[in-house]
């Protein structure tokens, strides 16, 4: 699993290194990563200049810098870390969503739900994980898979707490 995600991260960077262009052809936003981060009900960050964003996609963990290869990534439940030169790092936990990296070095992250880790009751998450694991073996197929999706969220939450 780890090796798989490591290669996924390495590949876009390698491709970027090969794509040589003249300096005059550089994109207008070169060197800057502009971030938009929103959920359906709220915009968290709009057009913020950042250094790096770390997120976990279904294809593995990604670290995104300016001039990243354009990609769309499906987000797993997990932490999004945002590093900027002017502000202290921000951390959000998202339940899922999509991140799109555009050719002009803008990064749009659309999450279904996003909260700071301080807003999470980890004792409740631990209990909910036990409960979801128990339910993943009983009931209808729909109930089982629902419990599995829930367990995935709680496992990611508890991993994020450490």
């Amino acid at each position: 699993m780890f090796i798989r995600s490591a290669t996924r991260v390495a590949r876009p960077l390698a491709r970027y290194a090969l794509a040589r262009t003249y300096a005059t052809e550089a994109t207008p936003g070169a060197g800057k990563l502009l971030l938009n981060f929103s959920a359906p009900h709220q915009t968290y960050l709009r057009n913020i200049e950042v250094q790096q964003v770390n997120l976990s996609s279904t294809d593995g963990d990604m670290g995104i810098l300016a001039d990243h290869v354009p990609t769309i990534a499906e987000l797993k439940p997990g932490v999004i870390e945002i590093f900027s030169s002017s502000d202290k790092p921000k951390k959000f936990f998202v339940s899922g969503g999509f991140a799109s990296i555009n050719p002009d070095s803008t990064l749009n992250i659309n999450a279904v739900e996003a909260f700071a880790l301080e807003d999470v009751d980890f004792d409740a998450a631990r209990r909910a994980l036990d409960d979801a694991n128990r339910r993943s073996n009983t009931g209808t197929d729909l109930e089982k898979v629902t419990a599995k999706v829930e367990a995935e969220v709680y496992e990611a939450l508890l991993a994020a707490q450490k």
């Binding site: 009900h41 279904t58 439940p77 936990f93 339940s95 899922g96 969503g97 279904v112 739900e113 909260f115 807003d119 999470v120 009751d121 980890f122 409740a124 998450a125 909910a128 979801a132 197929d141 729909l142 089982k144 898979v145 629902t146 599995k148 999706v149 829930e150 995935e152 969220v153 709680y154 939450l157």
Partner: protein, 67 residues
């Protein structure tokens, strides 16, 4: 393919289940606001001859399965 898609869930269904799971374990002050977003329903009324008919709530389950 992800396990939930193999089990027949759509992306939106799985995303809504995950979002609800997260809302469920928030601290109380933020949870109150977040849980309000969960229940969605449609109210419909038929208008006839310029008069509003009876209002009905469609899908009274409050979209609990996230479809």
């Amino acid at each position: 393919m992800s396990f939930w898609r193999e089990a027949g869930l759509t992306y939106v269904q799985a995303a809504n289940i995950a979002a609800r799971a997260l809302r469920n374990v928030l601290k109380n002050d933020v949870k109150v606001q977040a849980v309000k977003r969960e229940e969605q329903y449609v109210k419909a009324a038929l208008w006839q001859n310029g008069k509003q008919g009876e209002t009905k709530i469609l899908d009274a389950s409050g979209n609990k399965l996230g479809h």
